[in-house]
């Protein structure tokens, strides 16, 4: 059977050498690249089965490179290999489309496992942070409904029925800025009409229902 084809991206030659020795017995190492741009270029050209990449790399970091590849239609499995023992990185890696997250210094034990898990359609996250990732991955999405104090002021004034011009003069800002505020708030809150805006304000105690 054909050995799976691996593309390795790591800008540290000494690490890359170590990784090559781990990978070569079981996989066909199609190329070793040293930065994000090379990674994108090589991946699209060589079409590997799996990409093993560092996150922190010159020119273009691993996360952005993978995001570009996904956009370009590349469906190769991705295992990130990083120094960052940090759930934030792991969550972002998964968001970017990776299926493996391994700490570099544990590579000799975990890399091959992570690759095989990935190839079989599963997700592997290094045990050191796996629990954290589970906890935060849901909570960490940006909260659209969070408003700044200024936005709350603007929302209240509009909900009270004032025009953009009145809001602008009350807050010492330009009418255009007031309008921008309103548009942004409505988009953040997923509101389409001014009456929905009033309802939202009433519901959240920003203005009182008469």
């Amino acid at each position: 059977m054909n050995r799976p084809r691996v593309l390795l991206a790591d800008d540290h030659r000494i690490v890359a050498d170590g990784l090559r020795r781990i990978l070569e017995p079981d996989f066909e190492l199609v190329a070793i690249v040293e930065d994000g741009r090379q990674l994108v270029e090589a991946a699209l050209r060589l079409l590997p089965d799996i990409i093993v990449a560092d996150i922190t790399m010159p020119q273009l970091n691993g996360l952005d490179a993978v995001a570009q590849l996904r956009k370009a239609g590349c469906s190769a499995k991705v295992v990130f290999l990083t120094m960052h023992k940090d759930a934030s990185y792991a969550v972002r890696a998964l968001q970017a489309g990776a299926s493996g997250f391994v700490l570099k210094h544990s590579a000799s034990e975990e890399l091959l496992v992570a690759i095989r898990e990935s190839l079989s359609g599963k997700t592997y996250i290094t045990p050191a942070i796996a629990d954290c990732v589970q906890q935060v991955s849901s909570a960490r999405l940006p909260k659209a409904s969070l408003l700044t104090p200024r936005q709350r002021e603007v929302l209240q004034l509009f909900a009270e029925g004032r025009t953009a011009k009145e809001v602008a003069s009350l807050l010492h800002i330009s009418t255009r800025t007031a309008e921008n505020h309103k548009a942004r708030i409505m988009s953040l809150l997923g509101i389409a009409t001014s009456s929905d805006l009033v309802q939202y304000a009433v519901r959240h105690g920003i203005i009182s229902a008469q």
């Binding site: 000494i14 170590g18 960052h84 759930a87 934030s88 990185y89 210094h105 544990s106 700044t148």
Partner: protein, 627 residues
């Protein structure tokens, strides 16, 4: 009439008092009014008694040769009175008789004066007789025995020859004069060298003629060099005609003119003024009474000075000195005096005048009249200008200082900013070094050790050692990574502000065993690096402050943004602190927080109350403003 004056006043006073008394007696009056009336009457009597006890004033009888109110009489009188006032501050009693002997000097007139005076001063004590000028002196000399026997005589302005005649006469002394004809003529010749003809103006009275004769004795010496013409008593119309026709090499010398040959009376000063109006050549004189009336000047005697000298002698005699032991004085009292207006008229330069000349009637220039005021005004103006200048300089210095202060301030801000960014740059470099090199090499070593441990050829003991080595390397690599992260949050560059904040919160939560709720809104992805670093550092500082000091089991972090601002709030629910007090404390890093926020034009606000937690908020404008 001074003498009967005082008793008359007293009599009037007494009469008034008595009328008042009668008036009072007729009406019922108050005792006070009566008392007042009495006291007036008493004090009037008392004053009268006091007056009687004072020593009697010295009594001087002055006999003037001329009629009253001639200019020269006024000069003599001024001098005599000045001297007497100095010698007798309490005053003397002076009776003056104007004998008018210049016009009338016949024997009967003189005899009548004699009778009149004898009758007038009969029974009066006279302390001194002062004849003024020649005719009066001759009158006194003649009638002394009958009129003023045993009364000392001090004469004033008697010609030298006459004075010589009375030298040593008991009870007699005085002041003599000598006209300095030579001095005047020579001065005139020096000033007007072309002068060849002199017109000598004098009157036709006996005395005018006598004086002229006296002068002529001197002038005769110049007969060879000068043509000298005398006009004794020439009537005024003719005299004026003659004066008007004088040629340019002429000069006029004025002597004395009391009367013309027709018997018309004049005063010399009037005559001078009339001649001056028509005369085309300068006029000289011999005494200073004429100065100011039209003569240019000359070596002049002074009636006023002679009068003052005589007054001084009178004081000495009245004080008891023996007159015959006081030498006759006044002969050498000439003074070169000139009229500035006449000097100007005849084009004479002051510098050409004889040394020591006195110039009268100088018309003062504006400077001479108002010099002090002008000077004061100028000084004031100068001072004012000076004050204004000082104020202007002061103002410009202050403006410059303010400007340079402003420059220094903005430079300091720039410098602080550069310092901060240089520090951050250095930290970034250091962190990258640690992360990219050291940490990676450790990782590589750990991989190597792991690979070795997995080899089948290795004995179990060596495998265990290698595993241990690998774990140590992992631990070491973690530590280095952690240090690098503290130095510079690479995560900020890799994952952005929101993730970096969340990660920081997680780390804090893990380490301090506290709940940290970090919520981030929709943050612009293109946030400037210095803004995100600023917010990260402020949040980091605030979080660790809270962990160290707040004793709070919960912290909230909110990161939100709108179209104007990005907004960060770090809040704890712990013990709180006194904000005003804490700002001065260096330990909390509040100053460095403020500095970082200020550098990105943001605003940092700290709310804290003891017992109810602390909230630190930062607002940073998203649009970059010009600084």
């Amino acid at each position: 009439m001074m003498r009967p004056g005082r008793p008359a006043i007293l009599r009037v006073l007494k009469r008034e008092v008595s009328i008042e008394s009668i008036h009072l007696a007729m009406k019922p009056v108050s005792a006070v009014t009566l008392l007042a009336a009495c006291s007036v009457a008493i004090s009037a009597h008392w004053c009268l008694a006091g007056e009687n006890e004072l020593p009697a004033k010295k009594h001087i009888v002055q006999l003037y040769s001329y009629r009253t109110l001639t200019p020269i009489n006024a000069d003599w009188d001024r001098g005599i009175r000045r001297a007497l006032a100095t010698g007798f501050p309490m005053g003397v009693r002076i009776d003056i008789e104007y004998l008018d002997l210049g016009r009338i000097d016949n024997a009967e007139y003189l005899q009548r004066w004699n009778d009149l005076l004898r009758m007038k001063y009969a029974g009066q004590r006279i302390d001194l007789v002062m004849p003024v000028y020649v005719q009066a002196f001759q009158f006194v000399r003649k009638h002394r025995d009958t009129l003023f026997s045993d009364v000392p005589v001090v004469f004033c302005s008697v010609n030298r020859a006459l004075a010589e005649q009375v030298r040593g006469v008991p009870g007699m002394t005085g002041v003599a004069f000598q006209l300095d004809v030579d001095g005047t003529v020579n001065a005139a010749r020096a000033l007007f060298p072309h002068t060849q003809h002199w017109l000598v103006v004098s009157g036709g009275s006996n005395h005018d003629r006598a004086l002229c004769a006296m002068v002529q004795q001197t002038l005769d010496r110049y007969k060879d060099q000068l043509q000298i013409e005398y006009t004794e008593g020439l009537p005024m119309p003719k005299l004026l005609e003659m004066a008007a026709a004088l040629a340019s090499e002429s000069a006029v010398l004025i002597l004395n003119y009391d009367q013309d040959v027709w018997g018309n009376d004049y005063t010399t000063a009037d005559v001078v003024e009339q001649i001056a109006a028509v005369c085309p050549v300068p006029m000289f004189g011999l005494y200073d009474t004429l100065l100011g009336h039209g003569i240019i000047g000359g070596s002049l005697g002074s009636a006023e000075s002679q009068g003052e000298l005589a007054g001084n002698l009178a004081v000495r005699v009245l004080q008891g000195e023996d007159p015959s032991k006081i030498p006759i004085t006044g002969l050498e009292m000439h003074q070169f005096m000139f009229d500035a207006r006449q000097l100007q008229r005849w084009g004479v330069d002051d510098a050409d005048l004889p040394p020591g000349s006195i110039i009268r009637y100088r018309e003062m220039t504006l400077w001479e009249q108002h010099g002090k005021q002008i000077l004061a005004g100028l000084t004031l103006l100068l001072l004012q200008s000076l004050v204004i200048a000082i104020l202007l300089i002061n103002r410009s210095q202050r403006i410059r200082a303010e400007r340079s202060l402003h420059t220094s301030r903005s430079e300091a801000i720039q410098l602080a900013g550069r310092l901060l960014s240089a520090q951050e740059d250095e930290r970034t470099r250091l962190a990258r070094e640690l992360h990219d090199d050291l940490s990676q090499r450790l990782a590589a070593s750990a991989i190597e050790a792991g690979q070795l441990a997995r080899k089948s050829t290795v004995s179990p003991g060596t495998r265990a050692t290698l595993a241990q080595l690998r774990d140590d390397l992992i631990s070491l690599s973690d530590d280095v990574h952690s240090i690098a992260r503290q130095i510079h949050p690479t995560i900020l560059d890799d994952l952005g502000l929101a993730d970096a904040l969340r990660s920081e919160c997680d780390r804090l939560a893990a380490r301090e065993d506290t709940a940290v709720d970090c919520q981030c809104g929709d943050i612009p992805p293109d946030l400037r690096q210095e803004v995100s670093l600023c917010l990260y550092r402020v949040a980091q500082e605030a979080l660790w402050n809270a962990a160290r000091h707040a004793q709070s089991n919960r912290m909230d972090v909110r990161l939100t943004s709108d179209v104007e601002m990005i907004h960060l709030e770090v809040r704890d629910f712990g013990v709180g602190f006194d904000v005003e007090h804490a700002t001065e404390q260096p330990g909390l890093g509040l100053a460095s927080m403020r500095e970082r926020v200020r550098l990105v034009n943001g605003r940092l606000t700290i709310h804290s109350q003891l017992g109810s937690g602390t909230s630190i908020t930062v607002d940073i404008p998203l649009a970059e403003k010009c600084t």
